[in-house]
Symmetry: C4
Subunit: 234 residues, 4 copies
């Protein structure tokens, strides 16, 4: 199998496991701790963050965006070409759907159940803008400063936290958002609420891209980046 | 003591501690938080994941599969020979039994009590298939891409998450499954339910092996990565 | 944008996200788990620590003190000049305010609401002294011994723990303290209580600085340590 | 200040912060979550493990055993001389006492209150033996295989887990045990129960030492691993 095909497969598998982590842990949490929604979100957020650490460590050397906004920013930064980006994004959406269906089958639910949970309003949309800016800052800040081997831990920590500090519980990912419209469980989002979330994520993506260009104008091997890094040690 | 004997001992000790972590933390959790099963699983999953980080960091340079499916895949990939695999797997099963007995004695229980907790059904079996595929992907994806020193964190994160996102709470390990038949506590599984779980784990093992061959057809190809990987595996 | 301007921006953005993590997760926690303050603090402390891991990993190569006391100690150690320190500290205070306002808007609250939560007394002030000494010890001990790439994990772990083991829940940061006067939510502190906290933080800063000078009189001076440090940056 | 004096100070400060983390988080947990002892132990165990990550990362390059049994094993392995070991152990006991007193003063309690909590019985003593064997295996396995820079994470993970999987909640440290006799709070142990715990820890220390000699008969034998290990230990 050629390298691009491996990358497409890695995005499919990784996004499927990510959505399984989000949806499956939400089902388990609401079944086992029915009396405290905060405890459910704690279980859901720790499971998601821990899964991200594992998935990014294992799949990053092949391909591990799992997120169309991240892939679009990689395209905008010239890291990949348009055709590759399109293929990876398609794999992310399909992987997300596979993740929801697999989670449902594991837990004895119908393969697909449309969510009835509305998530709308300016507060939540601002939450998604902020969540996406932060995610991009964490991913590309880490990579562009030459710490690619720490991305998994930064992303896992960020998402665990952002479940709590953003009002929207930080979807920050269009593929995961679509996948979550298909589950009428803890992690679900009503299909009618998805466009608002995705538009907010794209807006956050544009803002995050601009911020990255300002904070990290070049990859780590520029003299400026090296000098800035050296500062920390002196 | 020759290197192979050290490896056998490391598998025995490591699997014993892993099963102690699973069984012991389950006993403690159900005693101290009797009113919320979800809180018990949170305690159980965090303790198991944290123990795995420690055990894999400390024992990986000797031998740290702790899992017959992992050892079988190592054999299939040509990393070890058949006799070594057989010895390691025997040590894993014996270590698991020692872990259950030790946990029971620490908590003042009879050395062995057969579990009465049935765990059956296609949903749970699918959970074990998925759990095992994911575990193999995380372990071998990490090692084969030259990140062997991060395996402990990836595995610890994965298992913590998979307790939550798989319907079966992710046993994913035949030696641990057998050891858990011998404890009529939180982590137990009725002996009659064990064959179904183990068959599902083996099926997941076969699927995971195929996936690894596709995603990581070769070891990481930089000389440093290969050297690092080889050192850990030898 | 020149390097110093990037540093100012990084301090602004990073402190804003840190305060969002503190304030936002406190709002979410008290809304979702209203019956158990300890569970709220667990959610709040894990979110804050996890956010710190992400923010420090991503922003450290540009600038990631997020804390005037830390910046003052950097100045005292000769790592930065006075003008840079002043600019970074200003950015931290402004970033903190932006963080509170953004958290409020995300959660549908007024932009600013003065806290009514009094936090005074010698026990709490001692808590802040201890919390700040420990934070400085962790940051500068790690950096000065050539482990700069592990600062994020050390700081994240320390703050998660210090929320619990200090009576004051470890503010340990004047910019964050001021930002928390502007939120009448879980993480708030009454404006009248802020001066006592900040004085205690400055006292802890002086004590921490002295301790660092004794424990780490020089940068890691063995050739191996220097080589290891350089390797991370190269 | 000469290097040995720095080491003594590091052991004093580090053990004081470790005991503060244990005792202080126990006080906070029992005050804020009075209705669920399991939730208290979760808060206590996560705070302790997170503090250990920070303290070991920051202090390991100076000295970071914080535990007389660990120091005794270092002596038995020839890593330090008898006089140094005695000085470090004295600092650990004194640091532990300082930690309890400081925690009490932060939380508005009398400086010292003898614990009335009995902890006796063969199950608990076996728990301490197992806890100490595991701790030594994790520390020395990690260091002797050339992964000294990961000790902090391994130890933090191990202790978090061992709070749950050992019946004794894993004191595993004579200096911390003595310090915990002086606090009639969540983490306390009645003075009359301390000798049994300490004897069990010493027995576990002897068994752990033997196990390390078998599993890791030599230091990691690559030059880089040896250099890295020696650097940390020197």
């Amino acid at each position: 199998m050629s390298v691009p095909a491996r990358r497409v497969l890695a995005e499919f598998i990784g996004t499927a496991f990510l959505v399984m982590a989000v949806v499956g842990s939400g089902i388990m949490a609401s079944r086992l701790s029915p009396d405290d929604v905060g405890l459910q979100l704690l279980q859901n957020s720790l499971a998601t963050g821990a899964a991200l650490v594992a998935l990014v460590v294992a799949l990053q050397p092949v391909s591990a965006a799992f997120n169309p906004v991240v892939t679009l920013v990689e395209r905008a930064l010239g890291m990949i070409d348009t055709r590759t980006a399109a293929a990876l994004i398609a794999a992310q959406f399909l992987g997300g759907l596979a993740g929801t269906v697999t989670a449902h089958l594991m837990f004895g639910l119908d393969a697909v159940t449309f969510s009835t949970r509305e998530r709308t309003g300016t507060g939540l949309w601002l939450g998604e803008v902020i969540a996406t800016i932060g995610l991009l800052l964490v991913i590309f800040g880490t990579v562009r400063s030459g710490r690619a081997e720490q991305v998994a831990f930064a992303v896992g920590g960020y998402i665990t936290a952002a479940y709590w500090f953003t009002s929207s519980t930080s979807f920050a990912n269009p593929a995961v958002t679509i996948a979550r419209t298909l589950t009428d469980t803890f992690a679900g989002i009503a299909p009618a609420s998805a466009p608002g979330f995705i538009l907010a994520q794209l807006a956050g993506g544009a803002a995050g891209y601009a911020l990255i260009r300002v904070l990290y104008p070049t990859l780590a091997d520029s003299p400026a980046a090296i000098a800035a890094t050296r500062k920390v040690l002196s």
